[in-house]
């Protein structure tokens, strides 16, 4: 039996994590994500899981990576300033192929910025924020329902692809309360089993993902952030090996782009097309709802990274893409790379969602 609740987005995120089997949370309080940590602090110990408040976000990220190798489904939650501190060990997680989930309830930046206000200013940071080349998965919820569902999904993607997965929420969806239907069960994908005796970082399957040699199971795996060979041993001055390793880390995610892509296409024949993710999705939905004829297209994206660029081509008559974001056009720039028609960024900073009137105005403006 499904059940109905009236939950805050951050509560739904934490509940989604628990439903997905999250049993380790290491975090540091920061507005506007703190409710996730508070909820986990209350619930995890009663379920036999571990909640630990670390000394900072660097340590939070480190703790969930350690816990993941020890076999936990591990997560942390933060916002901009903490996200910046996590970048170091996010790179480590990518390099060591450690499954883990990071929730970022985005607030206004740069720096301390607007702690209690909404933003989507970390969309490029999540993709490129740590040094070196790597790839990650980023999901953007637009409702309390999706805070639950996409958090659960994040754990499955993390385990399937052995990669850090990011729930890139915003203060709008994190803090609002609304109706949510809780499903009976949540799908759980396991980590690919490790074949004992094989090199722990050798990926022979077409998905380029090696099996997971969990600590404590006798595999004697060496995990290092240094460039490593298939045995996991440091080989930091071998150019070819470095190229092959980093290429695989990126390809295993980029190649699976459409396998994991999650988006909706509305009115594909339209000439004017909105593209949105996270909070602004709600305003676009309102604009479409309020228009008498279905003359406006909408690509609403849940998997922002890897970016599902082919979805743009589905709008075969598109003469213009309009991209409302609570930043100065971070994903609009990504869209520009993939289309030949004009892309109109509709940036909004300050902490508030675009209003329907603002989007209608942009739609009707010639430029």
């Amino acid at each position: 039996m499904t059940r109905t609740e009236f939950w805050q987005g951050n509560t739904a995120c934490a509940e989604g994590a628990l439903a997905a089997g999250c049993n380790f949370f290491g975090g540091y309080p920061i507005t506007p994500s703190t409710e996730v940590a508070e909820f986990m602090a209350a619930k995890l110990p009663k379920k036999g899981g571990v909640f630990i408040q670390m000394e900072d976000e660097i340590a939070s990220m480190a703790s969930i990576i350690g816990a993941s190798w020890a076999g936990s489904r591990a997560m942390t939650a933060t916002s901009g300033p903490g996200f910046s501190l996590m970048m170091e060990n996010i790179g480590f997680a990518a390099m060591t192929e450690t499954p883990c989930v990071v929730v970022n309830v985005q607030r206004g930046g740069p720096s301390t910025g607007q702690p209690t206000m909404s933003a989507q200013g970390d969309m490029m940071q999540v993709r490129f924020g740590s040094h070196g080349d790597y790839a990650i998965i980023a999901l953007c919820p637009a409702s309390v329902q999706e805070m639950y569902e996409l958090t659960a999904k994040a754990f499955n993607l993390a385990d399937k692809y052995r990669v850090p997965v990011f729930l890139m929420a915003d203060e709008t969806v994190g803090h609002m309360r609304e109706k949510i239907i809780i499903p009976d069960t949540v799908e759980r994908v396991s980590r690919k089993p490790f074949v004992p005796g094989t090199p722990p970082f050798r990926a022979t399957d077409p998905d380029l993902v090696p099996g997971f040699p969990q600590f404590g199971t006798g595999q004697h795996v060496h995990v290092t952030g240094l460039t490593h060979d298939e045995r996991g041993y440091p080989a930091a001055t071998n150019p070819g090996l470095h190229m092959a390793l980093v290429k695989r880390l990126v390809d295993k995610i980029e190649n699976a782009r459409y396998e994991m892509a999650d988006y909706d296409i509305i009115n594909p024949g339209a000439e004017q097309v909105f593209v949105a993710y996270g909070g602004p999705v709600r305003t676009v939905q309102q604009v479409l709802h309020d228009r008498p004829n279905n003359d406006v297209g909408f690509l609403r994206i849940r998997t922002v990274w890897p970016f599902p660029e082919k979805a743009l081509a589905e709008f075969r008559n598109a003469r213009r893409f309009l991209v409302p974001e609570m930043n100065l056009g971070q994903i609009a720039r990504e869209i520009e790379r993939h289309v030949k028609v004009p892309v109109k960024s509709i940036p909004k900073l300050g902490g508030e969602l675009h209003t329907p009137a603002e989007l209608v105005e942009a739609l009707e403006a010639k430029q």
Partner: protein, 262 residues
């Protein structure tokens, strides 16, 4: 079994310089681990960045070689997620006390059940000899070319003040004592911190008048002041020379600890 059975033979030879003290400390630690009767399956070595932190890469257990200064935060995650695992951390003075200083004091405060062996060579060896938070006043390094002007940390006092259950200091000269101290650390529930002063001929010794490795080891030996002797001297109101450092078991207590195997 002996300590030699704990090495990844396919990883040898190691990268340490001729005359480096780290091998001594690794051998003492592995001998202590071996004497605990633990299996390789249930033992995990964690480290950060630096010469000392390369040690887990040579040990035939699960091992986690992490980012600079963060070993204790990673180790906390491993241990809290699975308290059945025995988690030993190798670190160095720069890794632990500079970039990792905050993680160090908080791991001590939590009194989490880890054993931490710090190879203190008083310098950044791997990157070519820069000053660290334990470089003694007046000593030369590539970033203290006129002599270190800062006051160094006493890592053991730091660990004690922050709440660790077990704290000891020895040197690469005191192999038997060091092995015993590590063993007590492994046996003690809660946070155990063992500092091992080591010679670094390449980065420290050659800049600081230790032309021969033996000279530096001799220096560590003669400047070691046994804790019991130090206590007697204090009682008698005797002056303790500034270039002496205390060795021995410095703290042993039974405060509530986290992550202890049930």
């Amino acid at each position: 079994m002996s300590y030699e059975d704990w090495f990844r033979q396919d990883r040898l030879p190691h990268i340490y310089c001729a005359g480096c003290g780290n091998g001594t400390i690794i051998n003492c630690t592995l001998a202590a681990v071996d004497s605990m009767g633990w299996t390789k399956e249930e033992t995990v070595f964690v480290s950060g960045i630096g010469c000392s932190s390369r040690a887990p890469g040579y040990i035939l257990t699960d091992s986690l070689h992490t980012t600079h200064g963060r070993a204790l935060a990673f180790a906390t995650g491993v241990k809290m997620a699975n308290p059945d695992l025995h988690v030993v951390v190798f670190t160095g003075d720069g890794d632990l006390a500079a970039i990792g200083g905050n993680h160090f004091i908080h791991a001590c405060r939590r009194n989490i059940d880890l054993t931490v062996v710090c190879m203190n060579n008083q310098i950044y060896g791997m990157t070519g000899g820069q000053g660290s938070p334990t470089t003694p006043k007046g000593c030369l390094s590539s970033t203290t070319p006129y002599g270190c002007a800062e006051i160094p940390f006493d890592l053991c006092q730091l660990a004690t003040a922050a709440g660790a259950n077990y704290v000891a200091r020895w040197t690469s000269y005191h192999v038997k004592e060091l092995e015993k101290a590590v063993k007590v650390g492994l046996e003690t529930p809660g946070f155990s911190f063992i500092e091992a002063l080591v010679q670094c001929p390449t980065a420290f010794g050659r800049r600081n008048k230790f032309r021969l490795v033996a000279d530096h080891v001799e220096y560590l030996k003669v400047h070691s002041l046994l804790r019991a002797k130090r206590d007697r001297m204090l009682e008698n109101g005797e002056h303790i020379p500034e270039d002496m450092f205390v060795v021995g078991e410095l703290t042993r207590r039974n405060r509530p600890a986290m992550g202890v195997k049930p």
